[in-house]
Symmetry: C2
Subunit: 238 residues, 2 copies
DNA sequence: TGTCAATATTATTTCGATATTTTTTCGACG
DNA sequence: CGTCGAAAAAATATCGAAATAATATTGACA
């Protein structure tokens, strides 16, 4: 239980958000209120409050009198999210490199080291990654990217960045379940890190764009493969 | 009643949003649930659902077990919102000028003409503007700026733009209540319009930045004046 | 007089049940 | 056989009251 779970609605919001982002609740699936209320052990009121908040995070969609769905994922939206995220993320990184002080540098360095510790013995082959290690990597990847932009000096930019990061994470998790095996993502992180520490804003942003577009490309392939499979399956049944 | 008010929660959400944006519910004020439920003639459930959604729009803030407040306005946030809005709005306009077709041009032209019809006989002096005419201007200003970016081809960019436009509108409404009298905002709109129609993306974006920064400056002055007054008042009482 | 704790009050949060709407089922009819 | 419509079933949306937490008040004590 998080410290900020003062109310049941708060707790349910966080639980639902996690379950949507990591894919435990499948994209596009119907969210049956009674079922959720039982699963999360809450009543209608906090549940609906949580769902209303998730609409603002673009993780849930609703249609009046017809209920709630997990927001669907699509190739088009992947491209859209990736492009807008690159815009926001580079703007924030640029500002952070301009404004960041020594404390920021320490935070970034610490976050990078923590991430590096996990990434250095990631399987390059297509071994499956144990879930626990995956969660550690997710947490440290998130923390590293958050640390980079934390000195941007713009709460609004950070707010939008967080929203887009979360959207991207949903997509990335899809590809992790399909194409196991990691490209050398650590080199990309190090390139961003080095350029940032050298206060080379232009290069840091370029490396970030490259990192994001490569990730997006990987997800795109995974989703295309999935869509193929789905066609097979539903084609076979029809 | 809007067509999309399928539920009481929807209707309450829209009403509350309007009342916050136009300032009928003062920035920073406590939102007493029982009072609101009476005012809007709804029960707790749809009311809380509406408030939860407004948190996502950054129009309402909450603290667990302590309730809800209208999100405060501040000079710092004004600067932050204005800067990020300029970034998003110019990116979207740039894309729209690249992608927009003939239908888009017609929409933009129509929106501009409608706006021009109101702006051409705005009082340049410091006469107070009748509320009805103000609402007409607000609606057409919103429609014009929305039409400009409507061909950006990026739902996410539009989504973020809408969020930021709404934030800006809150601030702008403050200044309209303080410094009546209009600068020649129509010339700025026309400059954006002309550059857009000539597909001069660079100039259109520059004119947009200028328009936004001038508006922000006006709001800044108005808020500084207000803060001064507030100090006087609370200082006098203490 | 000032501070602290116990109590009273007020406000938020949550539940359980009801009303309303949508979806499904089933049978009649073309 | 398909489709249209009415009845049944299922699900969502809403209310009103109870439970819970925060705030204000009061009075005892230093």
């Amino acid at each position: 239980m998080s410290a900020s779970d003062k109310t049941l609605a708060d707790r349910t919001y966080r639980q639902l958000r996690g379950d949507i982002v990591n894919g435990r609740l499948a994209a596009g699936s119907k969210l049956k209120l009674e079922g959720l209320a039982q699963d999360y052990e809450v009543g209608m009121s906090p549940l609906r409050e949580a769902l209303a908040r998730l609409m603002g995070d673009l993780l849930v969609v609703s249609e009046g009198q017809r209920g709630f769905w997990v927001a669907p994922l699509s190739l088009d939206e992947l491209d859209d999210v990736s492009r807008v995220r690159a815009l926001i993320e580079t703007e924030a990184l640029n500002a952070a490199i301009r404004n960041g002080d020594a404390a920021w540098e320490r935070d970034v360095a610490a976050a990078f080291e923590a991430l590096a510790a996990v990434e250095e013995h990631l399987p390059h082959t297509s071994e499956a990654l144990p879930p626990e290690q995956l969660e550690t990597w997710e947490a440290r990847n998130r923390a590293f990217h958050a640390a980079l932009v934390s000195a941007a000096g713009s709460p609004m930019l950070i707010k939008l960045r967080d929203l887009l990061y979360q959207q991207s994470e949903r997509y990335r998790r899809v590809s992790l379940n399909v194409s196991r095996g990691w490209r050398n993502v650590h080199d990309e992180h190090r390139a961003i890190y080095d350029a940032t520490m050298q206060r080379n804003a232009l290069r840091a942003c370029r490396m970030t764009e490259l990192h994001l577009s490569r990730t997006a490309e990987e997800v795109r392939k995974a989703m295309a493969a999935l869509a193929q499979d789905d066609d097979q399956v539903s084609g076979g049944k029809a």
